[in-house]
Symmetry: C2
Subunit: 365 residues, 2 copies
């Protein structure tokens, strides 16, 4: 069951409704609880045959606007469709929530209503990034939940990112890298050197391979599946990458419109160009995932259309089906135990956990 | 007079020599001092008619390798072509130095030999970024001279970046932005909020407009001409942007090779595609500039070919012709005086300098 916020996106409830219908057509197993003004949602969704018997409308009058401050939404957000959407996950009616609304408000509500998983200091937002990896995408986190992260936070991001890549992208043993200004061990800030040791010691408990430091150029590459960084750097890298891809696409369009000959060429190459567009279309990798809470929340782009919304719903469904939330919690708990065990044996937190710990817990995820 | 390090690039002295000849052909006013093994350089450059009477070869036996550690080069680098190249600027024989060699070593040698400008705490590396701005490029700094920057450093980067944009890109009054995770004033780390106030107060003394916080998506945009950030974030943004542009270009090539029809289309669109490639070709914006030292150093890409080297030389020549180094020093001094004046009047460093200060010094740059 997926809990969907119909309101708060730039294109209104109609785009979200179209996205729901699109997902429902493609996958007969998804069921929905949709939150928003009942009359409007009934008009948009009530008579769609594809949704018969698997779409419940939950009335919520209020709407969180893009300009609302997260702190205000936390205090006065009850009664909004966003609050109601999170509430369905909190009560266990739905496994994953999806919203196109205000990111800051959605994170704030998710934090106070779902609360953090035990042992998690800072939740993170993970995004998908078009890449040369076989799966076509890499995961990067944090891309903006918090502007700071210490070494322990970065270790938790590595564990959460690995679990997400395993359950969301189907990678048995994801390759993890830590974003830095160079790949040599002596490079970067002090917290990165410490995190480098912590993550290297957690590969068994976390079920991942660690490739060490990676650079900005590796984000779209095939050296790594999951890139770990703080939310400040991650947010700037994400927006820089999006902006650069947009610039190149715009220049390409201008180039094809420049002459009569090039316009004919564009027609001839139409199929190939569409395939290119599909590979780098941000709508197809739509969905930042909030990790580290008691419940999974998928944040769709505010400007998402039906295609974007259905991509976010597909991701949510994939995570729900794989039992991601329980596996993530189990993995974090076992990694914590492994580190405590290592500490109790007097070898210090930054040293590899004993092999036995990963065997004990290796079946939970 | 431009001082050129012929050695230390990935393609060896031949590529640098070709770049020098290319520049000499295009611009009859550039003169060179070229540093490296005399026999090799004489063979490469000695008989070129284009260089007659304006190319002096300075013998240096040693070569700084890409794998050499900066700390070692600082201690044992005397006698290398890189050392000799910097030395020509230090002695005043040349105005600007150009090298394709090891960035860390080049910065280290530049720091100890040229020394920092008065009042500068951290020198910075500025790069050019293809953009939608009328001039076709934006400036970003720091992209990797230092991994840290406090609010005062960011203010100095703004002053230096404005001066560079004025003299290197010909912008009378550059628009400066401070890179952050959002444009709202309350966003980001504490040092960014403080830097925001400091830069806003320095617009008159620095001769620039301040647009406030900008995001990663603005790097290739037309909101801003100069983007100020710390070297950690800047390095990751630069490499992310380069990697993303490369990914899209590769996908584009694959798309055009996919079918017979698309290959014909590529032929038809050849001129337009070449124009596109030219707009985003990193070789054409080749040259990170070291700012904040007693002398200007242009760092060319290690893999630069003749076209890349000549772009770096053109940039060096442009900066030499404009009297950039003296203007930058004067601007930093006057901004410092304006801030001291403001502080003496008891209005505090973060408040706008009195208008008179900028009038007194407005003609120096």
């Amino acid at each position: 069951m997926i809990s969907v916020d119909a309101m708060g996106g730039d294109r209104g409830a109609a785009a979200v409704a179209d996205g729901i219908v699109r997902s429902a057509k493609k996958n007969p197993d998804i069921a929905f609880i949709v939150h928003g003004p009942e009359a409007e949602l009934t008009r948009l969704l009530g008579r769609r045959r594809e949704l018969l018997g698997r779409c419940e409308i939950r009335h919520a009058e209020g709407v969180v606007k893009m300009t609302d401050k997260p702190s205000q939404v936390m205090r006065h957000g009850e009664g909004t469709s966003m609050w109601s959407t999170i509430e369905s996950v909190r009560r266990g009616e739905a496994t994953v929530a999806v919203s196109c609304g205000n990111t800051g408000a959605l994170m704030a509500l998710s934090m106070i209503r779902l609360r953090k998983l035990p042992g998690i200091n800072r939740p993170a937002i993970a995004c998908l990034w078009p890449s040369r990896s076989p799966q076509g995408f890499n995961v990067m986190l944090d891309v903006g939940a918090d502007i700071k992260a210490d070494a322990e936070d970065l270790l938790q991001y590595a564990l959460m990112g690995a679990s997400y890549a395993r359950n969301g992208l189907g990678l048995a043993r994801p390759r993890i890298g830590l974003l830095n200004v160079g790949t040599e061990e002596h490079k970067g800030r002090a917290e990165l050197k410490l995190a480098n040791d912590l993550i290297a010691a957690a590969t068994e408990a976390g079920g991942f391979d660690y490739v060490g430091f990676v650079e900005g150029g590796d984000l779209p590459g095939d050296r790594v599946d999951v890139i770990v960084t703080d939310g400040f750097t991650g947010n700037i890298a994400l927006k820089t990458g999006e902006g650069t891809a947009k610039l190149v696409s715009d220049f390409l369009k201008e180039a094809f419109n420049a002459t009569f000959l090039s316009r004919i060429a564009a027609l001839l190459a139409l199929t190939s160009l569409k395939r290119l567009q599909k590979r780098i279309d941000p709508r197809r990798v739509n969905g930042g995932v909030f990790l580290g809470l008691n419940g999974t929340v998928v944040k769709s782009h505010g400007s998402a259309d039906a295609l974007g919304v259905s991509a976010a719903i597909r991701l949510a469904f994939q995570l729900a089906q794989s039992g991601f939330q329980d596996r993530l919690a189990a993995r974090l708990a076992s990694a914590g135990q492994a580190r405590q065990g290592a500490a109790a044996q007097g070898v210090g937190g930054a040293v590899a956990a004993p092999g036995g710990a990963s065997n004990l817990n290796g079946t939970t995820e």
